[in-house]
């Protein structure tokens, strides 16, 4: 296995790209995809350290993170669809009031 730093560095780069996506993009769905990218970067570190310490717990935790991500996507996309119905837009700049 390569030094674990390589994986941590790659994961940090992916995480920062995800952060930039959340900050820069205006499309709510793309913002949401950037959040998925950040979760995935965290998963990569979990698996890298699970391999490094030869402990299964990291992989188990990645399994749970994936489940939470799936649940989050289901609810989040339902929310986006509901917002689109009332506002006719998913531009996050136009969704600045909670009351439609």
């Amino acid at each position: 296995m390569l030094p674990v730093y390589y994986y941590v560095a790659l994961s940090a780069i992916l995480f920062i790209i995800g952060t930039l996506g959340v900050l820069i993009r205006r499309n709510a769905i793309v913002v949401f995809m950037s959040v998925e990218l950040m979760l995935n970067a965290a998963n990569l570190v979990f698996v890298a350290f699970a391999r490094y310490y030869q402990a299964m717990e990291g992989q188990i935790f990645v399994f749970f993170v994936m489940t939470v991500a799936a649940a989050e996507v289901a609810v989040g996309l339902a929310l986006i669809v509901a917002i689109f119905r009332t506002k006719q837009s998913i531009n996050v700049d136009q969704i600045n009031t909670l009351k439609g």
Partner: protein
Amino acid sequence: MTIQYILFFSLALIAVASAVGMLISRNAIYAALYLVLNFATVAVFFLLLQAPFIAIAQVSVYAGAIMVLFLFVIMLLGAEQVGPQQAIRWQRPVAAVLGVILLAELGYILLSQTGVLPGTSTEIAEAFGSPAAVGVNLFTAYLLPFEVTSVLLLVAIVGSIVLTRFGRTNGEEGK
């Protein structure tokens, strides 16, 4: 050892390039497809790290189910592009500066920590990361979290059904 380096850096290049592609592509469909590519490369990283079960779960759950859901919603709403207007003009440069600062901090921490952790042993237990090992762990030590996960998924299902139903009845009443 060199083949490992070549493999890692080529895959890392694909992963970072596809993530940047997701970040800058104007069309949300292309962004979703770039993200699928990114998830697939991360699945290969999981294989390299002796986690075959997680790699398959990554491909089937992330690249399969989640991204298909994203694509469905993008096409359903016809929301490939939102207007180019940026409400806050200074948002983009500030975001870039903050990202660079975060990257510099992480790079500094990583570089200053190099050599603290001892190198990895190359030999590894035969069954490490196999689906059987994951299953044994999941159904003995982590049985309670596993069951709680099912409640979470049920809540997510009910929540998304309620959200979409509520919107529809409301809209009909409005008309």
